[in-house]
């Protein structure tokens, strides 16, 4: 599958309808062409393109075997298996999944819940979408296993509002799973009841934040909650809640079947398993590839992704979705796992690798990124609400040629003062890339000064705004 870089950059999140239309169009025309590369290790994506949306086909491809196995295991054993596998949250934060599960109290007066976070909205990231599209039962199975591990009887699969076209697939999968006794009362004759519901979002990036997702699921405005208490103790409807990314949950059945050791061994220490990397931008072969954790980024760009087309040079890479600080061309020889990227001053994030060639204007890219965060800020806290708006306004003016020298410092000052001080990580997500752009590409900002037109564009401005002296 190929993602059009321009589509991703220009339309993401700004207009739901436009976005949906174009995404649907894109999907219809591109859906068949899944990409592949010999270096891929197919764990989560092994059923992609094999018709696993049909439950029969899913069962043929080892479907629901992990649940059967898990039903014979002690809850603690399941938790330990996942813990030992080194599976870390695929949503971006990279917290050890098994450890997260172990925080859920054994006894609870309130019902416990398992939530699948399918609110995939980070620009550059499009992996959960493929899972829902090609292998919905894997998610359901993961949810059930998580439920068995923590003693919950209810799961919710929350799917991003703009992925409404995937809801039919998920609904059918749920219906089939109920019909075959994988869900509902007494699953697989085990005496264990488990229900899974599907829920669609209303179009907010913010709801990808776990506590905001719970608010949304409860029918409220999608704003994050004060923490502590953490979801594992007080979550959905006040009950202890496990909330995991869709890819994380889809990784659970293979871990149960293949064992922790096998899974952990795929990646480097403490970074078990594989990762769906969403390669986009100026690449010859963009697409979603499942590669082992720790795969070299340079190799990923030049070998898996086919390198930069049109004889262009690499300028920068956003390694883990738009919220992660970019890496310059000199910094790409890095191992793609949580710890190595942290060391490199960036983050593995949600696995959205966006490659920029030397024809890309970094200021424009920074502006486009900030437009997204300004639009998606929930507005709850001051630094995110005011900071993103201020940055968007300044960057707009700046890119249009109205920039002043002090603006460059101001942009950095604002972003630095948002960082770490917002109510939820959205503020950080807006601040981190901005700081990196200014720090690493200050020269490009300076090239826009003194009313000079953007060096990368023939037309001077993308938006005509009054230039303020």
């Amino acid at each position: 599958m190929i993602i059009d870089f321009r589509l991703l950059i220009e339309d993401h999140g700004t207009s739901t309808i436009k976005n949906q239309k174009s995404t649907i169009k894109n999907r219809q025309s591109k859906m068949a062409s899944l990409v592949s590369h010999p270096d891929e290790v197919r764990v989560v994506s092994k059923r992609f393109g094999q018709g696993a949306t049909s439950i029969d086909r899913y069962l043929e491809l080892d479907g629901y075997k992990a649940v059967q196995k898990a039903l014979g295991m002690q809850p603690d054993a399941i938790v330990n298996e996942v813990k030992n596998s080194g599976l870390r949250g695929r949503g971006g934060a990279g917290f050890n999944t098994g450890l997260k599960w172990s925080f859920v109290p054994k006894q609870s007066p309130k019902p416990k819940y398992v939530l699948c976070n399918g609110d995939e909205s980070e620009p550059g990231t499009c992996k959960d979408r493929l899972i829902f599209e090609h292998d919905p039962h894997a998610v359901i199975e993961g949810v059930v296993i998580a439920g068995l591990a923590v003693g919950s009887h209810t799961g919710y699969i929350y799917i991003r509002g703009e992925y409404r076209y995937l809801s039919e697939i998920m609904q059918k999968a749920l219906k089939d799973a109920y019909a075959r006794g994988f869900l509902g009362k007494n699953i697989l004759g085990s005496g264990y009841d488990f229900d899974v519901y599907w829920h669609g979002g209303a179009g907010a990036y913010e709801v990808g934040e776990e506590s905001a997702l719970m608010e949304s699921l409860e029918g409220k405005r999608g704003i994050p909650r004060v923490r502590p208490p953490f979801p594992a103790v007080v979550g959905l409807w006040g009950g202890p809640t496990v909330i995991n990314n869709a890819e994380t949950l889809a990784s659970v059945p293979p871990i149960i079947l293949g064992g922790a050791e096998w899974y952990a061994a795929i990646g480097p220490p403490k970074n078990g398993g594989t990762r769906l990397f969403c390669l986009s931008g100026n690449l010859a072969r963009p697409g979603v590839y499942e590669l082992p954790m720790g795969y070299n980024l340079k190799k990923m760009i030049y070998e898996v992704g086919g390198g930069i087309p049109n004889s262009r040079k690499l300028k920068a890479v956003v390694p883990g979705g738009s919220s992660t600080p970019c890496l310059t061309a000199d910094e790409v020889d890095v191992s793609m796992d949580f710890d190595s990227l942290m060391k490199a001053g960036s983050m593995l994030g949600s696995g959205g690798v966006v490659v920029l060639d030397d024809s890309t204007c970094i200021v424009k890219f920074a502006l486009r990124t900030m437009k997204f965060y300004q639009h998606e800020s929930c507005g709850w806290c001051i630094p995110c609400r005011e900071g993103t708006d201020w940055l968007k306004k300044t960057l707009t003016r700046f890119h249009a040629g109205g920039g002043l020298k002090k603006d460059i410092d101001n942009i950095q000052y604002l972003a630095e003062n948002m960082l770490g001080r917002t109510f939820c990580p959205l503020g950080d997500a807006a601040a981190m890339p901005t700081i990196a752009f200014v720090k690493k590409f200050r020269k490009e900002f300076e090239d826009h000064l003194e009313g000079k037109p953007c060096p990368f564009e023939k037309e001077a401005a993308i938006e005509q705004l009054p230039v303020m002296a």
Partner: protein, 791 residues
């Protein structure tokens, strides 16, 4: 081990702090005098963590943490004032001011704005912001609430006070991101109780008062903390006063002084309904009837006429003058009136508009002290039994106390009512009963099982009633609150049930600001102050001198007596019995009628002499609220050529040739006047001086000083012997209700006429308030459900 929870020790800025477990860091800091700034944190409301002003450095935490959401833990080490924290605060304010209009010079909040204060304390001197600001036009949400979006900093205090505090939920947040906006949940207007608390709690000038906006600046006003003159709850209201042509004009009422029994609360009446004071219909000079018409006269003329006529009637016919007291005059005035009637007019024909059976209540308590609950008790009681009344409408503060006690302390509320009152939402048990069956509830609770027959309904089965009674019996320190539905013989029955519960206390609900005071001060034909029977000899007889010992006649009987020609004079002080109690106005056509009022009411228009008076905001004295909390009134406003009732009563006594020294014991006892009654700038002292000089009296010892009689009240009225220094410094003092003569004669229950005011009416007074009227008119324009849905 049931040890008391151990205190937690932590270090803040090098200071050692110990606080109970569960304390929020921001509160723990306060205990050692460290201010952690915040906008969105507000004690007793849900935590937001939104303004990020309270970020502090906690050791071992990589990021700064919000002190408002952090619960203290042992050995925590906190820094609230290092470079990193200061920078965070500064940046937060810079970002806030980015889109703020900075229209402080015209903003109502200018001078008392938290954003201004914070910017001065922690902010940056210059703005880095140079983009166009986001603008949105101001909106009017109700006759009394306006909203200026650009000034709003989104601290969500208004949303919480309206929802969590008031259980009204009229406000919410719309949109997201930078276009997030506080908005009414009902389209473009507020559907609410118009309490205006959203305005008070707003840290900036985003929510402004329709009655006050753009009128003046805070520093141009004198701020006087006094007691609201409307319902019987006794909220403290801070009045902003400005000089005006007519004297001292009240321009604002609010609740910046949180020291009152109402804490954060104030309803529409306390906040806006001071405006009757400058109603154009306000009487500003005495009127005397000449040739059938009420014509302007001088005070001297009026006093001379009254003195002459009252003396004649008294001397010729003995008991033939009737006196009607007020539920909105001070204790001192009521006491004085009671004394004046008995001593000067030599009659016991004195009564007032009764709205609760306080005499029966006093008698039922049979001398047991500490059995009346204060307004503060209602907020802290572990359980509350509410029978009758609808506090949300009739006692807004009481409703607030109950509601927030349930919310914050998980108190159990047992509500029994003939209507589905709003407080049922907070009730652990709500029992709906047939109208008028409240007495049966008292009987059933006291043990009469047969009474349950009259109480069973679809929602309240016989078993349900039995269970409720059992539950109540196991409660401790229960507060029993009852409306005027419980009166006469039902009242002692209920009190008997309550007295059997350990620590149970009572609240008897009377309707007007000083209904309780009027009763306590003996505005009854058979009772002297302190519910002392006129027939019994006692200290009043000793102290006051010779007073008649046969009970006088009650209000309705006065009209009958006037018709038959037996009652030849009527002296009405701040009451409107013609309109409120259905007095036949023609009954008094042959009597000499004197009325003291602010307006030409239905009663005033039948008078022979009408005297324009000062209202409760224009004089000092004390009020006793329905719970029995005694509080000080401070003079805030003044309208030229009106006089306080106190002064008028003294002047009438003087005009009747009575030695005023025997009426007001001025110059003896503790000098109580703290300068509040005098109004130094108003020239009142000088005006008094002429009269005082003429009578050879030391000008400073004024018989017009109502505080001069406070000593006597404290000495003679049981339960009023509270700390005077506390009272005079503005603290509420709970009085113990005690009947001097145990087992006072049961009063005729039919004499009680509940006011049945709602949130927007306030007896005769309310009719002259523009603010209340505007809200009523607006509600007629937008007919809506009576209750705002929370669910």
């Amino acid at each position: 081990m049931a040890d008391a929870p151990k205190e937690i020790s932590l270090t803040v800025d090098g200071k050692k702090v110990t606080s109970p477990p569960g304390t929020l860091l921001i509160e723990a800091c306060k205990t050692v005098g460290i201010e952690v700034p915040s906008f969105c944190y507000y004690p007793n409301f849900s935590l937001q963590g939104a303004c990020r002003m309270c970020l502090v450095k906690i050791e071992k935490m990589p990021k700064l943490q919000t002190a408002c959401t952090t619960v203290i833990s042992e050995a925590m080490t906190v820094t609230t004032n290092n470079e990193e924290v200061r920078q965070a605060r500064k940046a937060m304010l810079e970002m806030l001011l980015g889109n703020h209009p900075l229209d402080c010079p015209v903003c109502d909040a200018g001078g008392e704005c938290e954003l201004q204060d914070m910017t001065f304390s922690y902010g940056a001197a210059e703005s880095k912001f140079m983009e166009a600001k986001n603008h949105k036009d101001e909106q009017q949400w109700s006759p009394v609430v306006y909203f200026d979006r650009p000034r709003c900093i989104l601290c969500y205090r208004c949303v919480r006070v309206c929802g969590e505090g008031m259980d009204v939920w009229a406000l919410g947040v719309q949109n997201r991101g930078v276009v997030s906006v506080i908005a009414p949940n009902k389209e473009d207007h507020l559907e609410c109780e118009e309490c205006g608390m959203c305005i008070d709690i707003c840290p900036v000038g985003a929510l402004t008062s329709g009655a006050y906006r753009y009128k003046t600046r805070p520093w141009e006003m004198k701020h006087v903390g006094t007691i609201c003159t409307h319902c019987g709850d006794g909220c403290k209201t801070t009045l902003g006063v400005r000089r005006a042509e007519s004297g001292l004009q009240i321009v604002r009422g609010d609740n910046r002084d949180k020291s009152g029994i109402n804490g954060d609360f104030l309803c529409i009446k306390g906040r806006y309904a001071f405006d009757f004071a400058d109603n154009p219909e306000r009487l500003k000079q005495p009127l005397v009837r000449k040739d059938g018409r009420l014509l302007p006269a001088t005070w001297e003329e009026a006093f001379e006429l009254i003195g002459k006529r009252f003396s004649e009637i008294r001397d010729k016919d003995g008991q033939s003058i009737g006196v009607v007291g007020s539920t909105r005059t001070t204790n001192e005035e009521n006491y004085l009136l009671s004394k004046f009637a008995r001593l000067v007019l030599k009659t016991n024909n004195i009564d007032h508009h009764r709205t609760a059976d306080f005499p029966a209540f006093a008698a039922a308590l049979a001398g047991k002290t500490d059995r009346t609950a204060s307004m503060r008790d209602v907020f802290n009681a572990p359980a509350i039994l509410l029978i009758g009344n609808n506090p949300t409408d009739q006692h807004p503060l009481l409703a607030w106390q109950i509601r927030n006690n349930v919310r914050l302390h998980r108190a159990r509320l047992y509500a029994i009512n003939c209507q589905p009152i709003k407080l049922r939402r907070q009730a652990t048990n709500f029992m709906e009963i047939p109208s008028g069956a409240e007495g049966k509830v008292a009987a059933f609770l006291a043990g009469d099982d047969t009474a349950a027959d009259a109480l069973t309904s679809a929602t309240a089965s016989r078993d349900g009633w039995r269970q409720l009674r059992e539950k109540l019996r196991t409660e401790q320190n229960l507060v029993i609150i009852f409306g005027s539905e419980i009166r006469g013989n039902d009242l002692p029955t209920l009190v008997k049930f309550g007295l059997a519960i350990p620590g149970a206390k009572f609240v008897c609900l009377g309707d007007y600001a000083n209904s309780r005071g009027a009763a306590d001060m003996g505005l009854y034909p058979d009772l002297l102050p302190g519910y002392h029977r006129v027939a019994d000899a006692g200290k009043f007889h000793e102290e006051w001198g010779k007073i008649p010992s046969a009970p006088g006649i009650a209000l309705p009987a006065m009209a009958d007596a006037a018709k038959t020609g037996k009652l030849k004079g009527l002296y009405v002080v701040g009451a409107n019995p013609v309109a409120r109690l259905g007095f036949d106005p023609f009954a008094f056509s042959k009597s000499f009628v004197v009325v003291q009022d602010m307006f030409l009411t239905e009663t005033a228009s039948i008078a022979d002499v009408v005297l324009p008076v000062a209202n409760a905001y224009e004089k000092s004295g004390t009020f006793t609220n329905t719970c029995g909390d005694l509080q000080l009134l401070k003079k805030a406003g003044e309208v030229s050529d009106t006089k306080p009732d106190f002064e008028i009563i003294v002047r009438i006594a003087d005009a009747m040739g009575f030695d005023v020294r025997k009426l007001v014991p001025f110059g003896t006892g503790t000098r109580a006047d703290m300068g509040q009654s005098r109004g130094a700038q108003s020239g009142e002292a000088d005006r008094h001086a002429v009269w005082l000089e003429a009578h050879g009296l030391e000008p400073k010892m004024s018989p017009f000083d109502p505080m001069a009689i406070l000593d006597e009240i404290q000495r003679l009225v049981p339960g009023y012997d509270v700390s005077q220094i506390n009272l005079l410094s503005g603290n509420d003092q709970h009085t113990n209700l005690m009947s001097q003569s145990a087992g006072s004669a049961a009063h005729d229950g039919s004499l009680i006429a509940p006011a049945n005011d709602d949130l927007f009416t306030s007896g005769t007074l309310g009719r002259y308030s523009r603010a209340l009227n505007s809200v009523i008119e607006n509600r007629h324009l937008q007919p809506a459900e009576t209750e705002v849905a929370a669910d």
